[in-house]
Amino acid sequence: MQRHSTALFLAVGILVLAAISVFVGVISLRPETVFHDRDALGLVLDSRLPRTFATLIAGAALAVCGMIMQMLVRNRFVEPMTAGTGQGAALGILVVTLFLPGASIFVKMSLATATALVSSLGFLLIVRRLPPSQPLLVPLVAILYGGIIGAGVTFVAYQADMLQFIDTWLNGDFSGVMRGRYELLWIAAVVAALTYLIADQFAIVGLGREASVNLGLNYDQVMILGLLAVSVVSALTVITVGAIPFVGLIVPNIISRRCGDNLRATLPLTALCGAMLVLSSDIVGRIVRYPFEIPVGTILGVLGAGVFLWLLYSGPKHAR
């Protein structure tokens, strides 16, 4: 019952925030003018609505991916954007931009997905060799692994004088979102929604390999499907708006603390909560230094670091 009321609360909150998001921006806009002023309508359709959708989709999809990744790795302190997946995607985009400058967006997308997939596979292989008695070792390795790939990206970019481009992929920011430039994100939304079909299987994978096989699950297949979903969503997010840290970390942790690990029931909540978090951070980023903007990644970095520390020190209830 509590779950339903939480979902209702989140949904209402998102609707209110989305309405605010449509009317916050440099050009002032009043609700009553939208319907008879063509300029105002154009503004809403071209910029404000796409931006709102992009924040909602990115937030929801990344939170869902974070939850899946945590199930696959069996560790609560991991998320795709710091564990090499996001950096892998940036590496892919960089390589395409360098060697195939005229490539279509789909070539870019598939290559970025491929590199993201490879680097998350690498991470999984490393994690498998770590002793299970040291849960805090996994996030440490994740951060360093992401850092190594990130340093590789920086090196290539420095040589090719593309440091500035890299910056736009590594630091998420919604200020460039317009109609016609963010539609790829809808694919991420579809992928994230599709994971719901096998949500219960991800929950079983989270019990470990032996338990899953005993329960008759095709462990490797679910593992690969999960990695694929995580990589696609990460790559698309990095291409369209840039890496957004911490959503995939904080939201799944809070949800699983409050509502448990039955993914079929909690995955929708995770999506709603992620969407709400990113949308509100984006609105805050737009208001704090009006008329300039602070990227959502920065706001989330400050918020997320605080929440992470709280998770780390607030006792081993579910966090381990």
């Binding site: 002793p131 190594i148 590789g152 420095y158």
Partner: protein
């Protein structure tokens, strides 16, 4: 065997120094020697400081894959610069005497290090991991706060921050060089005097206590030395993240014998070689523009992962 590897390293270091000073030098020798000599001195000081700090830190934390600088030190440094520029403006910042800025940095960094690492003392292993994670997350927090401040200030003032927040070996203030040389020398000789006590600590804390060594006090002393060394090198050239880990791991590979009397000088020599030869190769031979720090981060990160996977968690 030990003497020989130290000797070989010393010769290699001398060779790289000579190459660094002479390779591709054109024109007025006075200028070349003066200009490059200053850089060389900074590289050597930083190498010795960072490697010794890492050796001490690994000994007092009983762990061979830790280094003080993955724990958010560099980020704190950048945040301090950003905060100062934000509160008093770029003009004010540039008017401050550089010695004052230097000492303010050092004392702030030492304070932060003692608070951050101080909690590490006397705790067991899980807590050590938690400690490291805390450090890294603080690093993320500091970095986000700095970039938050970057957004709040003028672009022209941002230029001041940018100049001050990357590892820079190309321009080094002469006064600061003297001050850091002095500080490093004092700290290094203090560490050298502690070498036998450190060997005892390396046997394990229970064993050290049995042998009559005041473990907690020794750890605190070493921690203060580490803080000073890291602060000096960060304040002099900016952050170099994985250098310490890289060189100390190489030193341990070359000479698995672990008395500090060998380890400290050997890692300092290797650090010198990595920095000086690396800079020479990168600048003169390959003609690359990428900063050395990026390459060291990349290679050092790999070394870290291989160590972790090969030996498991110690």
């Amino acid at each position: 065997m030990r003497a020989r590897s130290t000797l070989i390293c010393a010769m290699l270091l001398a060779l790289s120094c000579v190459l660094f000073m002479t390779l591709g030098a054109k024109g007025n020798w006075d200028f070349v020697l003066w200009f490059r000599g200053r850089k060389l001195a900074a590289l050597l000081i930083v190498g010795a400081a960072v490697s010794t700090a890492t050796v001490l830190f690994q000994t007092i934390s009983r762990n061979h894959i830790l280094t003080p600088s993955i724990m958010g030190f560099d980020a704190l440094y950048t945040l301090i610069v950003a905060l100062v520029v934000f509160s008093i403006g770029a003009a004010g910042f540039n008017h401050l005497p550089s010695e004052f800025v230097f000492f303010a940095h050092i004392s702030l960094l030492i304070g932060a290090a003692l608070i951050l690492f101080g909690t590490l003392i006397g705790q067991h292993r899980t807590d050590l991991m938690r400690m490291v994670l805390t450090g890294i997350i603080f690093g993320v927090l500091f970095r986000s706060l700095s970039s938050f401040i970057y957004r709040m200030i003028d672009p022209s003032e941002f230029a001041t921050i940018q100049v001050n927040s990357y590892a820079r070996f190309n321009y080094i203030d002469l006064n600061l060089l003297w001050i850091s040389a002095g500080l490093t020398f004092v700290t290094l000789s203090l560490s050298w005097q502690m070498r036998r006590q450190l060997d005892v600590l390396g046997l394990g804390f229970e064993m050290a206590t049995n042998l009559g060594e005041p473990v907690a006090r020794r750890q605190k002393q070493a921690l203060i030395l580490v803080a000073i060394l890291v602060a000096v090198s960060t304040a002099l050239v900016g952050p170099v993240a994985f250098l310490g880990l890289l060189v100390v791991s190489i030193a341990r590979l070359i000479s698995p014998n672990e008395t500090h009397a060998v380890l400290i000088p050997l890692s300092a020599l290797i650090a010198g070689i990595v920095l000086v030869a690396g800079q020479t190769i990168l600048e003169r031979v390959l003609g690359l523009s990428t900063p050395l720090a990026v390459v060291i981060d990349f290679v050092g990160g790999f070394v870290f992962l291989t160590l972790l996977l090969r030996k498991g968690w110690i």
